[in-house]
Symmetry: C2
Subunit: 692 residues, 2 copies
């Protein structure tokens, strides 16, 4: 197909994604939500979730408007830029917010309907839960590709200079990144404040049941799953997806004059990432048809078939897309590029993502040595459990970093900086179905919570637990893709920044750049600390409130009077909104301030944030995952020195401590770092023309 | 004085240091060691410590001989180098080992004599403990300056090329670094395996008293204080001291042709660091005379007067040394240097060290908000205590990194790369008295343990506790100097490497260098993990052994039969020797392998190790310190929600968990990272001519 025509076909895939998402959402809504009690409980969860998102978006609206005005002023009257970048920024923010809102709305419908379906069987329940997740996945990729391609078409008709067009579009990525950071941090604090608070209340006040429907914090805990693990993760992947596409577009722009002189379509390398993403959407939809399970079967197989099948098909299709769109070979600065090598760069990315995922799985899986060693170290108490978990988490950074370094060198060998960028995109091409699998997790988790609170028969809970337990492998691999692609995307954006800011060399042995490197490496630590401390503070408020209710509400302990769960929802909401502002603002401000002090120092800062960010992210999320599964492993019973330790033993209590420490690690601070490193890189890219 | 003559005066200061150390050691030996029981206990500790050191040195001898042979081969037949570098390496290793051995020998005499002195009063006890520490401090600086200056004089008479002379001397630093890494890691594992194991045995086996003389692991615990906190720390500071002197010498060599053309002493900038260090020794000895306390007074004042007084005098003397040795101004590559600005660079280093120390003190002191918040979070259990401690530790990286970055930029502004190196030396010029104060801590700690085991009256223990408790501020500031100087020294060595390996630019946006950066940033994580896991494993063995003795030895629980403490000493010894080998070898091998793959990648690796190493080191040591003091804070009683929590409450138990987790953080993995980053930089510097 002619490349100039192709660009008009790309938005179509976004439209298809959204239409299919609408269809799936309508289908979910049509399902029976079950008994009146179930409907009431689910209503509280949905109301709490929507109320939080509305308050969050109100705060973000102020932020978005302020930044848009500043961006507009800063870019006005410049020949190489335009205040229109503010429009991209606002559109990016709105698309991200819409995807989050829409996905979460449907997730809060799917949860109770999954519970109800689980009353009759596993197959239908899987279908409902996965459909709910798919709506999230397709909303994200649909709005992402639609927003990007429409802006590209519109700007291309207004501005002749391709670099300027892409610079203006980078505002879209900035909008997505800003929302993502706030949503991830806010959602993460919300969910873990409720979770940790509910779990620990029993430790402080005697006789309060942990993990019990009478606990007033349980509704807030379930709301948290939706705002953190669904809406937060959606914004996160929206950002990765958009960031990796734009990073590749910026670097592809370097080929425009060469392709022009060859008589090829000048923008071939620029629209290639859009084309790959567009096909990836169709492949994701196709893959979703393979996700089903027979009654009594293992849902893991269905999910694996869907996700791995989609990745495999995508790998093959990439070959045809790349060789068709790009010329078979071209030369820039005496370096020869070939379309085949660009394809190999994509494969490198895919392979690295799978490898990092498998390594993650090794370190976090219940059946392997690392988790086993944490379980055994729990016998001697919480301290050795924590030491072991921290040790495993730190050790688990080794292999992924080796894989990542190899992928950087290999993809650069194949196709230069463009190769690194497109390798990241390779990892993210089937985000649609990956995110569906990810979001399916918290929906099943919620379904189980509703079954518990509505006192449904135990076989219902068993079915939802089966749903919840599977998808761990796919989730681990998804995490590998998320971290790997974040690092590669940050590098691609870093290279794009260097190009746009006209920085000749970022020589790390220059003191200013070394100072930038140290400052950059420090940010993820301080950022994690803020998230951890916020969770700690909010959890304490939650514990105090739960204690108050058990002391003041007569009959709550006996289960005859209802808890005032709205107060708990309110505590989580307020804490999340209050605590997300400082780290979120910091993430945007620091690169701006440093950039205007010295663009060289900003270069060092980017390198520092990326290196320390990816390491802390792997460390925190793997330590958290391993602690979680060490607890589960002990629940299955372990033997030490002739004694068997299981649920309720001292070893189990020690493992619960580890799990609780791991909660903010893996669900609040860890995932936020992925966004932080990309956000700082995008901010640098956006301000690049201003500090050139 | 003429510079060429000056160089012959420098070894003299080393001789003075060693003679004074001998005199002090003889004085300590002459003191009364007390009752027969005290002598027996102290004898066990001393025997265990010497036995460990002998085994450690046997293993290290094999390592040193192998590396020496390899170094000799690699450097033979090269015009710019010589196999003689092996001699420097062996001499450096032997000097470091001797300093550790001698210092520890005297420390294990001073401990029981401190206990005995404390039976009559505080003043004498302080004098004995501090004298013991001073022997360690003066042995380190004396052997350091003597070894370096004698090698410099000998090599200068044999080789005419100053760069070659300094390259050969850098082997001395490599020897010191290698011993330091093994000694720190081995000693750290030893001491924490015994400490953690003894504390936790009571958790697993019922009825075992924690922290009690009947516990068979107590002797091992006391041995650990000597091999870890005395010998290990001595080797650590020996390395810092030598590394910062050599880093400055290498960078000072760049001025040789300029000074020659000006008719100045060509080697002025090369011998300046030696001259500063030499005067620093005399100032340290002078400062030691101010360390005393009146009966009933606060020993803190005496220690502060000694250490701060010495630093202050040193700052003033530096001005005269620098302006006398260096020409008042000179020009290299159009940049004007002045001796006054070199002095300002030294001041910058001193100021940064004090600031980082004060920040460390803020985050770890019992009376400030960070520790208080951990104490309050302990009320809700171990999990929130751990979350809070991790959060505080991560947050505490912020200000020190800002200070460090500012110091890098400022000292570079004053005097270029030479300025950065001499700033590090500024921090370390009074190492003699700093190390005396540091080593005084474990000696007092041991004295208290002996008082307890020998069942002396409570006022003796009170006096040793007073000695132990003070010096926290000075110790915190010492830690600030250690981390700050390690980072600056690593940067100076990094710059020296770049110069010697002829690397033009280490452009971090080059994929190979970025891969190196990521790999380098990963090393401190994996290294910490190895240390943590080793402590965990060894502690478990210790717990099992303690349990066995309580079950099998009749009368042990009742205090009528003695424990078989030698078995516990043996477990710690074997574990420490076994577990130090892999991380130690890795620290030496990785930079060699990476360097021969690509010298650019090695440049990235150095930047990565330094940035992530300094951050993890600050994080771990501050988290550990804060957890320790949060426990002490609760022991003093805290109030939450109207309830008072003190020793023995659930809050205290939670704080003990935090303290136990913090132990390997602050005493094993954290301090090892300081060495790791310098070791890797020194290895790079030594192999630089081979990979040029």
């Amino acid at each position: 197909m002619d490349n100039q025509l192709l660009i008009y076909a790309i938005p179509l895939s976004g439209v298809i994604a959204l239409l299919y998402a609408l269809y799936k959402a309508a289908w979910v809504s049509k399902q029976d939500p079950g008994t009146e009690e179930m409907v009431t409980i689910a209503g509280h969860i949905a109301d709490g979730a929507v109320a939080f998102l509305k308050r969050e978006y109100k705060v973000l609206a102020i932020f978005v408007i302020s930044v848009a005005i500043l961006l507009g002023f800063a870019n006005s009257g410049r020949p190489d830029s335009s205040p229109i970048i503010s429009v991209s920024f606002v559109v990016g923010a709105i698309c991200s917010a819409l995807a989050g809102y829409f996905g979460m709305k449907v997730a809060t419908k799917a949860n109770v309907r999954t519970t109800n379906a689980a009353r009759t069987g596993l197959s239908k329940a899987l279908n409902v839960a996965f459909s709910g997740g798919l709506v999230m996945g397709l909303s994200v990729v649909g709005l992402g590709i639609l927003g990007l391609s429409v802006l590209f078409i519109v700007y291309s008709s207004q501005f002749s200079e391709i670099n300027q067009v892409i610079n203006l579009i980078s505002g879209f990525s900035l909008g997505a990144s800003s929302i993502a950071l706030f949503a991830r941090v806010g959602g993460g604090i919300y969910t873990k404040a409720a979770d940790v608070g509910a779990d620990l209340a029993g430790k402080v006040y005697e006789g309060i049941p942990e993990d019990d429907p009478r606990n007033p914090a349980t509704i807030a805990d379930n709301v948290g799953d939706n705002v953190g693990d669904v809406a937060g993760m959606g914004a996160d992947l929206f950002e990765s997806y958009v960031g990796s596409i734009i990073g590749t577009m910026v670097l592809g722009a370097a080929f425009v004059p060469v392709f022009g002189s060859m008589g090829e379509s000048t923008i071939a390398a620029v629209i290639l990432p859009l084309a790959i993403a567009a096909v990836g959407i169709l492949v994701s939809i196709a893959g979703s048809f393979f996700v089903h399970v027979k009654e009594g079967g293992n849902p893991q197989r269905g999910l694996n078939t869907g996700e791995f099948g989609a990745s495999f098909i995508m790998a093959i299709l990439s070959y045809f897309i790349i060789t068709n769109i790009l010329p078979s070979s071209w030369v820039v600065n005496d370096v020869t590029y070939t379309s085949l090598n660009v394809f190999f760069a994509v494969l490198t990315g895919l392979l690295a993502g799978v490898l990092i995922g498998l390594i993650t799985e090794y370190y976090c899986s219940t059946h392997n040595k690392p988790v086993e060693s944490i379980a055994y170290q729990s016998v001697t108490g919480a301290a050795t459990n924590i030491i072991a978990g921290l040790g495993i988490g730190m050790m688990s950074t080794g292999l992924p970093i080796i894989v990542l370094s190899a992928a950087i060198i290999a993809s650069h060998y194949f196709a230069g900086l463009y190769g690194i960028a497109i390798a990241a995109l390779g990892m993210l091409s089937v985000t649609g179905i990956q995110l569906a699998v990810d979001a399916y997790g918290p929906i099943s988790d919620n379904a189980g919570g509703i079954a518990e609170m509505a006192s449904l028969p135990p076989e219902v809970r068993e079915r939802t637990d089966t749903l919840d337990a599977v998808g761990n492998t796919t989730a681990a691999i998804g995490k590998g893709f998320a971290i790997g692609s974040a690092a590669l995307t940050a590098l691609a954006l870093f290279a794009a920044f260097r190009q746009q800011a006209d920085v000749v060399s970022i020589d790390i042995s220059e003191p200013v750049i070394m100072a930038g490197l140290l400052l950059g490496a420090m940010l993820p630590f301080v950022f994690s600390a803020m998230a951890m401390n916020a969770v700690g503070r909010a959890a304490r408020d939650m514990i105090t409130e739960v204690g108050r209710q058990f002391n003041e509400i007569a009959g709550l302990r006996e289960g005859t009077a209802p808890a005032e769960f709205a107060h708990c929802v309110d505590i989580s909401t307020k804490a999340a909104i209050r605590e997300m502002i400082l780290p979120g603002t910091l993430g945007v401000l620091v690169p701006v301030v440093v950039g205007f002090v010295s663009k060289d120092m900003l270069g060092g800062l980017l390198a520092g944030v990326t290196s320390s960010g990816v390491l802390l992210a792997i460390f925190q999320s793997n330590a958290g995952g391993a602690w979680d599964n060490a607890k589960k492993r002990i629940e299955g019973g372990i033997e030490f020195d002739g004694v068997t330790y299981g649920k309720g033993t001292e070893a189990h209590k020690a493992a619960v401590v580890g799990d609780t420490v791991g909660d903010p690690f893996k669900d609040t601070s860890g995932p936020s770092l992925n966004i932080l490193m990309k956000l700082i890189a995008v901010v640098a890219l956006v301000i690049a023309p201003l500090i050139r």
